[in-house]
Symmetry: C2
């Protein structure tokens, strides 16, 4: 463990843009700005903060990326509902994330799948189950790699959609590719390619006839190869 940056926090070295971003956040919070409210114009902010408009724009550019503000020429800027997952999505690239983080995300997705049952059973409808069944019937003969992943996404994605929770659905659709990346990586390393005894079809059957607890046990079995990969620390 010779990576000092892990133990010693780097010096902040805030730039003006960093500070302005913070100050703007404070300002919005203190003044209880709500979505739809208009912000002061750039030059006014720059004057008030004693910095150049340039710096203000860099900070605003960040908030704009987060979906916190929306700007129109002349009309000025207004506060908006941020897209809470948008920025997350920007950063979720397996190639630039550390092995540790990838593992964390892998586990996070396992936890989500295991916790899904209760919410699912509150919201599921017969129509949902039929659609899910249709998805399962589509995948029947496809075993090759790219197709398998596609069906994995379709099936599990539908499960999340059934919860009626949009954030949840998007979140999982972002996590799953990372999950698959980790699985692929480990399969290549270990050669272990076994799959769970419970198939997607079995899960649908449980959804029809069983209880939430049965579904969770089925999911656990379905994901068992992944659980076996979990290291003891």
């Amino acid at each position: 463990m010779n990576d000092l940056t892990q133990d010693i926090a780097p010096i902040p070295a805030l730039t003006m843009a960093d500070v302005v971003e913070l100050r703007l956040r404070e300002y919005l919070k203190k003044k209880s700005f709500r979505p739809g409210d208009a912000l002061p114009k750039e030059q006014e902010l720059a004057d008030a903060l004693g910095v150049s408009r340039n710096v203000v724009r860099e900070a605003l550019s960040r908030l704009r990326m987060l979906g916190m503000i929306d700007t129109k020429k002349k009309r000025g800027m207004i506060l908006t509902q941020p897209d809470i997952l948008g920025s997350f999505e920007r950063v979720l690239d397996p190639l630039i994330l550390s092995q540790n983080t990838l593992q964390d995300i892998f586990e996070l997705r396992l936890v989500l799948e295991m916790g899904l049952a209760d919410l699912l059973y509150v919201r599921k409808t017969d129509k949902d189950i039929e659609e899910l069944e249709a998805i399962v019937n589509e995948e029947v003969h496809q075993i090759q790699k790219p197709f398998r992943v596609e069906h994995e996404i379709a099936f599990h994605g539908k499960l999340y959609q059934m919860t009626g929770n949009e954030t949840f659905l998007r979140f999982q659709s972002m996590l799953l590719p990372v999950f698959e990346y980790v699985v692929d990586f480990e399969i290549k390393a270990s050669g272990n390619t076994k799959v769970g005894k419970i198939t997607h079809r079995d899960l649908v059957h449980i959804l029809r006839t069983g209880k939430a607890e049965d579904f969770r046990q089925g999911m656990k079995e379905h994901l068992s190869p992944h659980f076996e990969r979990l290291a003891k620390s």
Copy 2:
């Protein structure tokens, strides 16, 4: 439903900074940049893209906020491991999120709690349980509001910490305040303040003597007032 913006997507209206941000992402991906690699200097990027350095800086400012790049004077910019939750944190303010999103996050946290058991049982140690017990003993006589939340965070936070998953721990510590906000809001509306029959202390006991499945059932019971709040759609 007279809010047109819900149905009709707004015109993108990309600014140069938006485009440059995208192009930089593509560039980094295409060239397989890895953490530690040095980026071209700002002026070179500006020339290559045919825009002013100003615009490039706005885009870089965004990437810097996401923790994707780190810049030092003279030495230039290098790619870094992004902080995948940092930007999430910036946006997770109950006051600016829609009721729908708040509800989604509320549910997300419930799902996480319910899915926690398996991972927890793989990783938990006796020392962890002792520490958890200490936390429970601390909270024994405190029932007032601010203390309750504090203990809620301490207890559940410890559970997540026991999974050894740093991302997970941070994630929950960000979700929990939003969760509490939603709960508060609903309590004020309905007056319903009942709590689950299973206490933190009971959960620790289960953790000592029971199996993962027992713990999950205990958690379900512990969270039952919240599950009852879930609307059927």
